[in-house]
């Protein structure tokens, strides 16, 4: 090592040169815009794909999409869904979910239930602020899930499209599970897309 280089090294060591180097970087950042944002005054922009609270959806005419097939229950890796299905008392021969529970305390937000649903009745929304003082309110029942679905219907539709569950908004109107009529009396007209 040359004398010059050695001197430089000694000087650097004495003057804590590496500290100055680092301070340079730090000081440069004083002129940057801060990257932190002030939650909850500022909110993150949530992407359409975001897997937030689950919601049950209705068709445009207000009918429940869910037919109570229990496949979400089977698909759920944390076993947090419970569907009680039954024959719809108002619409004979039609299956529906008389009760539907999602235990949000157990839910892992994997989105498998949405993927499994054969009628796209479930969707995830951008809702993530549902913390509460009472753990019991985190057992989402059918009413609550439909409420979320009504309120965040746009999120839900965007989610389904973003996750390749639906092609476009038009398609979502078409699925309609067709139940057979009773031999005793007509219970519903055959759907258009089937006739």
């Amino acid at each position: 090592m040359s004398v010059g280089a050695l001197t430089k090294k000694i000087l650097q060591a004495m003057l804590f040169h590496e500290i100055w180097d680092a301070m340079k970087v730090t000081f440069k950042h004083m002129f940057h815009r801060p990257i932190t944002f002030q939650y909850p005054r500022e909110q993150r922009t949530i992407p359409d794909t975001h897997r937030g609270a689950l919601a049950l959806l209705r068709y445009d005419d207000g009918r429940e999409r869910c037919v109570g097939c229990d496949l979400c229950e089977a698909a759920c890796p944390s076993r947090c869904i419970k569907v009680v299905s039954a024959e719809d008392p108002s619409l004979p021969l039609q299956r529906y979910a008389s009760e539907f529970y999602i235990d949000i305390t157990k839910c892992v937000f994997c989105g498998y239930c949405v993927e499994a649903c054969p009628v796209n009745a479930l969707a995830m929304t951008k809702l993530y602020e549902f913390s509460t003082h009472d753990k019991r309110t985190l057992l989402f029942d059918k009413t609550r899930l439909y409420q979320i679905g009504e309120r965040y219907i746009e999120d839900g539709k965007k989610y389904l499209i973003a996750h390749h569950q639906e092609k476009d908004d038009q398609m979502s109107r078409e699925y309609r599970y067709y139940f057979p009529q009773s031999v005793l009396k007509a219970t519903q007209a055959p759907p258009k897309h089937l006739s």
């Binding site: 060591a13 040169h17 590496e18 500290i19 180097d21 680092a22 970087v25 730090t26 990257i35 949530i46 992407p47 794909t49 975001h50 897997r51 496949l71 089977a74 698909a75 759920c76 890796p77 944390s78 892992v108 937000f109 994997c110 989105g111 498998y112 993927e115 499994a116 054969p118 009628v119 796209n120 995830m124 989610y159 973003a162 996750h163 390749h164 569950q165 639906e166 092609k167 398609m171 078409e174 699925y175």
Partner: protein
Amino acid sequence: MKLEDQRTTVYKVDPEHPESATLPTLRTEELLLNMGPQHPSTHGVLKVVLELEGERLVKSTPVMGFLHRGVEKLAEDGTYHQFIPHTDRLDYVCAMYNNFAYCRAVEKLMNVTVPERAEYLRTIVAEVQRIIGHQFWLGTQALDIGAMTVFFYTFRDREILLDWFDELCGARLTTSWYRIGGVERDFTPSLLSKLRAFLDYFPPKIDEYVVFLEKNRIWLARTKGVAVISAEDAVNFGLSGPTLRGSGVDYDLRKYEAYGAYPKCEFSVPVGKNGDTYDRYWIRVQEMYESVKIIRQCLEQMPAEGSIMADVPSVTLPPKERVFTNLDSMIQQFKLFSQGFDAPPGEIYCGTEAHKGELGFYIVSTGGGKPYRLKIRAPSFIHMGAFDFMSRGYMIADAVTIFGTYDIVMGECDR
């Protein structure tokens, strides 16, 4: 003499001065110190029982299992597909790697070939995850040792990638994006442009991290020559990943097993010389540069169009829009979700090079939709085996450095 004084005063027994015999004798036994399970630098809930001789570590015994959730047992209860979200929670810092390693193992079991485009997507995301993992390690290791600043910088950049994950799959940490036979969702143009922008943005930032540490004498003093392990010992202890390569063993599954799109990319595997913490730090920094390189190459080579899921009707899910209108797809959907696919009897092991080391899944199948037994070879767990060996003789303050040097995450270690 009062009792309080006895506790605080140190007496020396001098045989040449008989009067000292009247004084109490000095106890010289090793001190047992429990470090953890609640300790900020144990990265989870790890307890280490340290035997100290003065400030020197004589023996250290990791006590594990505080974060044990029985994940391997859970795997036996669900279908193969259902286990993917559980793997998110192994190494919760880098969920994508766990997904990747698990899916690869099941694909090996089912003999499923992943389409080319999906292979590229998987490789890109795996490398993004590697960057996140190394950023995380760098920030927290520096923080553990006492350098606070780096933590802010690495976490700032990590945040960009986590948001990118959110847009990719809907979650920042618990991703579940990989699927058996492909991936869940393709890149969108927005994701691609964001990733490209990041690739331009990121390498200068690595230089910045380095400025803080590379010449910092405290950093050097705390890392150089700490937690040294020879190449032979490292191999014998089964270490892998940067922990192994730091000791000068050139072993990287990405090269040797050549899975994903790695064989089509050019990249080098940095290897250390001294086997100390500093070398491992250096390797991880270099790997970040290499990852950027790999991602760039993948983005160039990736076919613009193509399937992202293998088309094996007995294993992979049908396209959703067909489920609504076609009976065959609906049956496929119902069979796969309610019963899973029928795996052939047999057993397989498949290791994947995660940023920590070799993450392996060993699956025993007796046929049917559920694994008979699933064993996870978690690098953190294997590395903890060498902890006692690597920490002997070091100061108590180095204990934090030493388990930091493995990049340990207890979620994976205790499973």
